[in-house]
Structures are given as structure tokens and as C-alpha cells.
């Protein structure tokens, strides 16, 4: 095997700044594809911004904001085929939208409604993973299983900078290396794990440097550059499909919003830095790129935003129109054939609910 070197230090970038830094280009992406990617970015952005509002309005519960993380999500998904499997964390809760999942499903998840569960096989999207890094072995296992069957599918797991400290990340990555599983480890390095900065998370210089310890290539990209992410993931997927095994992609960005709606980052974050980062956020940068390229104008932007807004409007209405779940749901689903004790429990619960305290 060729020697695996530590990851490139420099962040790969495609999008310029419309000024001194020239725009690059991604081979094979035609105008339609470029606009579709924009559509996905706007959809995710709209979902995220509306969700914060819905939370304030009491329509959904606690919500993990992903503002300025849209590029790595959309860039990655567009670089994959629909047969490829996505394993999201809570930070990528709405990534299923890019695979046709109704907004109402994701909103239901955040509304604590069982309509928020889905069958992963319907979209090739795993469940939203709440316990940090624990889905990395799932993605490795899925990829290994597909490889055993000779199927060309690859898997991608999304996780944060903090997640790299967990044993589950390590074991999953190492398994993938050993099995030469077609897996992409997409690390969303937003430089914070709630209030814990990257410097308190690891002494590694870059997270992508961890790749060498698993015998896989590590790549660093600007996570707010949707085309850079696209290109890196496409490369990784091609390598994986060709039998080259897993790749670690570190997408570097910055968390510009609270960790979740319940969090107040003012106690720990550098607010000036947040302002800077907000100014170079990912949707605006791609918007500028497309306009410089002449494939986007106000009218098209308007149309795309309108579509997304409409989808969310319908989504929340649909989610809110769902009936409250029946108590029976508590007892279903955990087992293929629920044990008799559970049926008895439900009957008892119904009896008590039917009664009163009087």
C-alpha cells in the first residue's frame, strides 16, 4: 500500500471572492446541476430559518440550528447517487429533504411526534443520530455490507469536531479502514462542541490528520464552499466505489448560531468572529458565484426562495394537522411481535385513562 501522508494543510476552495481571488470551476457540473445545487442550499437555509421561528412560536421543540452548515450537506448529497446511504447527526436533521422526504416528517421529529420516524430504506437516509458519533459504526457496517454484496453503494456519515473524541468514532473509522468499506467520513468542523472549542477537544493540528491512523486519505475543504465540498466528496465516492476504501473529509466552517435553540453562546463565543463568519456564509457565497457566472439572477433567486418557503409553509401546516398520537403507539414498534405484557399494559393504561380521579 502506498504511504498515507497526513492530510493537506490547506483548505480546498473553488469559489472565489469576486475580487482578488478568482472563481474556480468543477468539472462536469452543468448549468442545471449548478442551479439544482443552489435550490438545495436555499431549501436547507429556508428550513433552518423557518424552524427557528417555529420554535419561538412554540410549533416545534428544541431545535439544533444548522445555519452556515448547508453547503457541506448539500454539496455532499449532490456528489452522491440516490443509492448511496446518508447517516446524519442532529445537525443534519433536514438532509432527507434533499432525498424527497417531506418537510412535515422532519418537523414532526422536532415536534416530538412519531410521524417523525421514517424507514431508512425509503430514502437511504439513516435516522437522525442523537448520541454523538455512535452512528459512525452504523455507516461503516452498512458500507461493509454493501461491499460484501458487490453493490456500488457508498455511505457517508456526518459528525462534528467534538465527535472525533468519542470512542465510537474511532471504532467505526477503524473498522471501515480494515474492511476497506466504501465510506465517507464527513466531519463538520464548526470548531465548537456546544461551548467547548476545538483546542479543548484535541491537540491534533487538523482533524483530517486523524485519517492517517486509520490508513485512509484525509482531505480538508472550506465547509462553506459548496463546490469544494462537492468535489471532495465526489472524489472520495469515486475512490470508494473503485474499491479504494474510506476517506476522511474535514469540512471547516464556523458555528454562527447557538448550538441549539436552548443555548446562549454569548457566555463563551467570540461575537466578533461570529460576525465575520456570518458575512462569508455559505449560501451568499454560492449566490455570488452563480451570479458572476451569469446563471442566477434576482428572478430565479426569487422563484427558488418562493418554492422553498412554500414547501415549509405546507410542511408545518401538514405537521400541525396530524392527529395527536394514540397511546397505543408507545407499545408498538419496539418488537416485531410485542410481548404479551405490553398488550396488557396498554389495556390497563386505557382503563385508567378512561376513568377519572373523582
Amino acid at each position: 500500500m502506498a504511504q498515507v501522508l497526513p492530510a493537506e494543510r490547506d483548505l480546498r476552495r473553488v469559489i472565489g471572492d469576486g475580487d482578488g481571488v478568482p472563481d474556480g470551476e468543477v468539472e462536469g457540473l452543468d448549468e442545471q446541476a449548478l442551479v439544482d445545487l443552489y435550490r438545495s442550499l436555499v431549501l436547507l437555509r429556508t428550513y433552518d430559518e423557518r424552524s427557528v421561528v417555529y420554535h419561538r412560536q412554540g410549533r416545534i421543540g428544541t431545535y439544533a440550528i444548522f445555519w452556515n452548515h448547508e453547503a457541506m450537506q448539500a454539496g455532499a448529497v449532490h456528489a452522491l447517487s440516490d443509492d448511496d446511504w446518508i447517516f446524519p447527526s442532529y445537525r443534519e436533521s433536514a438532509i432527507g429533504l434533499l432525498r424527497g422526504m417531506p418537510a412535515a416528517t422532519v418537523l414532526s421529529w422536532w415536534r416530538g411526534h412519531p410521524a417523525g420516524w421514517w424507514n431508512p430504506a425509503d430514502y437511504n437516509v439513516g435516522s437522525i443520530c442523537v448520541p454523538i458519533a455512535t452512528h459512525v459504526p452504523h455507516a461503516a457496517g452498512l458500507a461493509w455490507g454493501k461491499k460484501l454484496d458487490g453493490e456500488p453503494s457508498v455511505a457517508i456519515a456526518f459528525f462534528g469536531d467534538g465527535a472525533t473524541s468519542e470512542g465510537a468514532f474511532h471504532e467505526g473509522a477503524n473498522f471501515a479502514g480494515v474492511m476497506s468499506a466504501p465510506l465517507i467520513l464527513l466531519c463538520n468542523n464548526n470548531q465548537w462542541a456546544i461551548s467547548t472549542p476545538l483546542s479543548a477537544q484535541t491537540a491534533a493540528e487538523t482533524l483530517a490528520d486523524k485519517a492517517v491512523g486509520y490508513g485512509m486519505p484525509g482531505v480538508r475543504v472550506d465547509g462553506a464552499d459548496v463546490l469544494a465540498v462537492y468535489e471532495a466528496v465526489r472524489e472520495a465516492a469515486e475512490r470508494a466505489r473503485a474499491g479504494g476504501g474510506p476517506t476522511f473529509v474535514e469540512a471547516v466552517t464556523y458555528r454562527c448560531a447557538p448550538h441549539a435553540t436552548a443555548d446562549d453562546p454569548r457566555a463563551y463565543i467570540d461575537l466578533e468572529r461570529v460576525e465575520e463568519e456570518r458575512a462569508r456564509e455559505c449560501v451568499g457565497r454560492y449566490d455570488g458565484y452563480l451570479r458572476r457566472l451569469g446563471v442566477l439572477d434576482d428572478a430565479l433567486t426569487e422563484e427558488i426562495r418562493g418554492e422553498a418557503a412554500e414547501m415549509l409553509r405546507r410542511g408545518i401546516a401538514e405537521a400541525e394537522s396530524l392527529p395527536e398520537p394514540d397511546p397505543a403507539v408507545v407499545f408498538e414498534w419496539a418488537y416485531a411481535e410485542p410481548p404479551p405484557a405490553l398488550a396488557h399494559d396498554l389495556a390497563e393504561l386505557r382503563r385508567v385513562l378512561g376513568g377519572s380521579l373523582g
Binding site: 428544541t62 442523537v130 456546544i194 463563551y268 398520537p325 410481548p339
Partner: protein, 330 residues
């Protein structure tokens, strides 16, 4: 139980925070460690102010690694420290179970009792808070079954402070589960300064003669409500277990002997929840005192549900009252 006398009106979270301030002040070998306990003061603000007051070496934001937290705490003890570890939520303590079972609970024993491992592991636990999956578990069974560790679960602000202080001072590892439902919503009088509630003593929260409701943590106030609801019908005793290990068996048996009727209320799934141990003790040692079956009102043997359904899962006033009535009518 000793304390200095003056009282303050605090929430349960404030009482815990107070305990940490007092104990870190009292013993400079004590340190607090965990995810987000420092800069942010904990996601529930239980560790607020500690980093400013005691510095980042005694209130440490650790990497995101629960087994690493438990495991380095073992090493810190060997260096003479007394670590108080926070697990950010109940279900996020599970990655630390291996260290807890194989080392935290066994290392003292493995040294022939010659070295101490005074680790405190504290975490918010329990449901009713409308949070996403795996934020509402009641994991006490995993801890209570594990030899070498002790387990306490307070139900009032005063006990929260006193039991946490006892845990920190204890020479053995103690897991403290804190009812997160009541972190901010329950207020109560809490002794100022040093305040210790010894492990191993239950508390009669309400005296009564006809039936005993046994509970701990967030189920205690529920049982008190049930006692109120049953006021006209029966005289209800409420026993707050407080310390699950060591357990105050005498208090349990005394109450069972008095009322002859016992309902045990627990939020965790039924099978092998702590109510099973309490019921087994009664079946073993109180069989001649019991006037009826030992009833359990518990969570069900399924994962804690999506929160729109949580009120069906959690023991409710209706279910507790119903059980007590069934037992009274037995």
C-alpha cells in the same frame, strides 16, 4: 445530617450548584469535570460560576468522551484528586458504563481496599421535559446493579445539596441522578453553607397508615400529589428512598409493617427497574406483613417515547391513585 442553620430558597439546580461551590471551597483536592461544565457552566447551569471562582484546572471542560471522563477520573484519584464528573444527560452516560463497571466500581477492591476512588458521577435524569430522543432516560438500574458504586437520587432541593455533598465526601464512588424535570421548577428551603445528607437513609415524606407509596427522585412529588388526591379515602404514607445503594431497608420494612400495603412508583422501564428490588425485598422479608400484592407503577418495557407520548409512558397521578385504590380494595 449536619448544616449551619440558615436557610435559602433555591431551585433544585441552584441547590446543586451551591453544594459544588461549598465542596470545592472546602476541599482543594476536589475538581469538577465534564462536557461544557466550564465556560458554559453546564447545559443546565449546575456548574455555573465554578470556573470563574476555582479556575479552569478545577472546573474542566473535557473532550467529548464519557468513557474518557470516567477513566481519567480513576487516574486522577490515583494522583490524589477527588473528581466530580458530569455526564451531560442520562443516556449519554452509557458510553461510560464499561469504565464504571470494570474500574470505577472495582478498583478499590482490586487494591485490597488499600486505595480510595472517591469519584462522584452526577447527571440529570428522567422524563417529562419534552426533549428529543435519549434525553429522558432513567438509567438507575445500570448503576444500582453494579457492585462497588453507590447511588443517590434526591427529590428536593435540600436533599439535592445534601446528598451531592455526601457523595463528594464519600470515600467510594457515588452516582447521583438529578431529576431534571425539577431543576428549575422546584424551589425549596436549603441550608446555607455545609449541608450533608448521609447516604443510606430514606425519608418519610408523608406519614400515613393505610398504604405506602414508595418512590425516589421526580416520582416523589407525584406520590405526594397522589396522597393528596386520596386524602378523603385513605391515610397515605410516602417514602422517599433517596439512597438506592446503600438502601435503607429498615425504613422500607417499617413502613410496610405499618401499612401492609405497598405501591412502588418508578419512571424507568418496569423489568428490573429498581422497584423490582424493593418488591423482592418485601417478598423476602415482609411476607407476613403484607395485606395485598406489592404493586409497581412504572415506565413500560419500551424505549422512552417521542415526547408527544411521554405523558402516557410516565407514571401519572391517575395510575398511581388507581394502583393505591386497587390495593386498598384488595
Amino acid at each position: 445530617m449536619f448544616s449551619e442553620g440558615r436557610l435559602a430558597e433555591l431551585t433544585l439546580a441552584e441547590a446543586l450548584n451551591d453544594a459544588l461551590h461549598v465542596e470545592l471551597e472546602r476541599d482543594e483536592r476536589t475538581l469538577v469535570m465534564g462536557e461544557d461544565v466550564g465556560r458554559a457552566g453546564g447545559v443546565f447551569r449546575v456548574t455555573a460560576g465554578l470556573r470563574d471562582r476555582f479556575g479552569p484546572d478545577r472546573c474542566v471542560d473535557t473532550p467529548l468522551a464519557e468513557a474518557g471522563i470516567m477513566g481519567t477520573a480513576v487516574g486522577l484519584c490515583m494522583a490524589g484528586w477527588r473528581p466530580v464528573c458530569e455526564m451531560q444527560y442520562d443516556a449519554f452516560s452509557y458510553p461510560g458504563l464499561d469504565q464504571l463497571i470494570t474500574h470505577v466500581g472495582r478498583y478499590r477492591w482490586r487494591t485490597g481496599g488499600r486505595m480510595e476512588f472517591p469519584i462522584t458521577v452526577r447527571m440529570p435524569y428522567g422524563g417529562g421535559v419534552k426533549a428529543p430522543e435519549l434525553h429522558e432516560d432513567s438509567p438507575e438500574t445500570y448503576y444500582v446493579h453494579t457492585p462497588g458504586v453507590k447511588v443517590a437520587i434526591p427529590s428536593t432541593p435540600a436533599d439535592a445539596k445534601g446528598l451531592l455533598a455526601a457523595a463528594i465526601r464519600d470515600p467510594d464512588p457515588v452516582v447521583v441522578l438529578e431529576p431534571k424535570l425539577h431543576y428549575r421548577t422546584m424551589r425549596g428551603e436549603v441550608p446555607e453553607g455545609e449541608h450533608v445528607v448521609p447516604l443510606g437513609r430514606a425519608r418519610v415524606a408523608r406519614e400515613g397508615d393505610d398504604v405506602t407509596l414508595v418512590a425516589y427522585g421526580s416520582m416523589v412529588p407525584l406520590c405526594e400529589q397522589a396522597a393528596d388526591a386520596l386524602a378523603g379515602e385513605a391515610s397515605v404514607e410516602v417514602l422517599d428512598i433517596r439512597s438506592l445503594r446503600p438502601l435503607d431497608e429498615d425504613a422500607l420494612l417499617a413502613s410496610a409493617a405499618k401499612t401492609g400495603r405497598v405501591v412502588i412508583v418508578q419512571e424507568a422501564p418496569r423489568t428490573l427497574g429498581f422497584a423490582a428490588e424493593l418488591a423482592a425485598i418485601l417478598a423476602e422479608k415482609a411476607i407476613l406483613d403484607l395485606r395485598g400484592p406489592v404493586l409497581r407503577v412504572t415506565g413500560y418495557d419500551v424505549p422512552f417515547p417521542f415526547w408527544k407520548l411521554e405523558d402516557y409512558y410516565l407514571p401519572s397521578l391517575e395510575r398511581v391513585v388507581d394502583a393505591a385504590r386497587r390495593l386498598l380494595a384488595f
